[in-house]
Symmetry: C2
Subunit: 219 residues, 2 copies
């Protein structure tokens, strides 16, 4: 019974996601859905990413959190428009659903945006199941989380278009086998680009920013 | 509609959880539900914890993962009985439900166990909503995940009886304000014991093991 209900919720979500996709496409907006475990560094990455692309590309952010506006407060300092969505504390709120993104987008001037980032709720499981009408999906994985997350949470890695391996500045202090981690990613998603970065030191940002700009400009 | 359905699923779960609780209580088994984000170090902590308590306390483990038996394989080396539960990849499987624990417990000799550890699916959101009939709940938080997780995922911290602040061996290499993190924990759950540990160096394990042994013996 539970599965059947979840399927129905996802069907409704898919319909709303297609409406979003059509709307974003008509406005020529590239929408990036950024997902990860809690604490892998999504907000810090987005802060740096925006500082690199902002001169060229008009951007905005929708930030999803169960509680607090901490991440939106940080991102607001970049001077891009930020909409905070708080999903509340109860069931079904461990992810951003398509109708939530549709509503949040109403708070943005879509004619003045080329690139919309959605920072999803910190969760490596549920968000992967919900299409929000995005153009591409990125998963962030911190090197402090161990090597085997791609094979333990395969749906997330199968559904994403690129992976950001963050906090590489900590590698000297960890027993972390980076090649093993990248091998696991490619076991799930053979052609996935993996960008090794540090939001703290800005190491490795150039290829990531190039990839992103190309995607936005193709829109 | 979605919320109503989730409520119904949780009601059924509560009934099953009470059955589990009665069964574990009759057998005199202390059940610890261990929850956290992916990659915070649950398995490494449990491996060390078992090595400290095993001479005194007969233990077993139920390990929940969406995919793989990596964690069970590691824990099996401690020579305690381990049951791996794979929840599969689809909706409703981002947590361990009470009926899953009831079924898994059937694979253990409950007359020969005083302490049952349940390593939940790596997820700081959904598992907190599901009572599995446990005696106590512990949340693991890694210092690499940033300070504000308690206020961003308050239900988890409200519902747990203790917090393990893991990977403190990495503190010299991080910009991490430990007092701020503990302050956030106590903002959500004022009396929560916080054990600062490193599963890598075994730093800080003594007070944690003492707390745990006391709990098991009170059962």
């Amino acid at each position: 019974m539970e599965i059947k209900v979840v399927r129905k919720v996802l069907d409704v979500n898919d319909t709303m996601a297609e409406q979003n996709r059509k709307m974003f496409s008509e406005k020529g907006i590239f929408v990036l859905n950024v997902m990860s475990s809690p604490g892998s560094g999504k907000t810090a990455i987005l802060e740096k990413t925006l500082s690199f692309i902002m001169p060229d590309i008009k951007s905005a952010v929708i930030v999803g959190d169960i509680c607090t506006s901490n991440d939106a407060d940080i991102l607001a300092k970049t001077n891009v428009p930020v909409v905070q969505v708080n999903t509340g504390e109860f069931g079904g709120d461990c992810h951003l659903a398509a109708h939530v993104i549709g509503n949040a987008a109403n708070n943005l001037d879509l004619d003045d945006i080329d690139f919309l980032i959605v920072e999803n709720v910190g969760n490596l499981v549920c968000p992967a199941e919900f299409d929000i009408g995005e153009s591409a999906r990125v998963v962030v994985l911190s090197v402090t989380e161990g090597e085997d997350k791609p094979v333990k949470y395969p749906l997330m890695f199968r559904e994403c278009n690129a992976a950001l391996l963050n906090k590489v500045d900590l590698l000297p202090y960890l027993d972390y086998d980076k090649e093993m981690a990248i091998g696991y990613i490619h076991q799930i998603n053979p052609d996935m680009p993996v960008f090794e970065i540090s939001a703290k030191t800005e190491e490795g940002f150039d290829p990531w920013i190039d990839w992103l700009k190309k995607k936005v400009r193709q829109m």
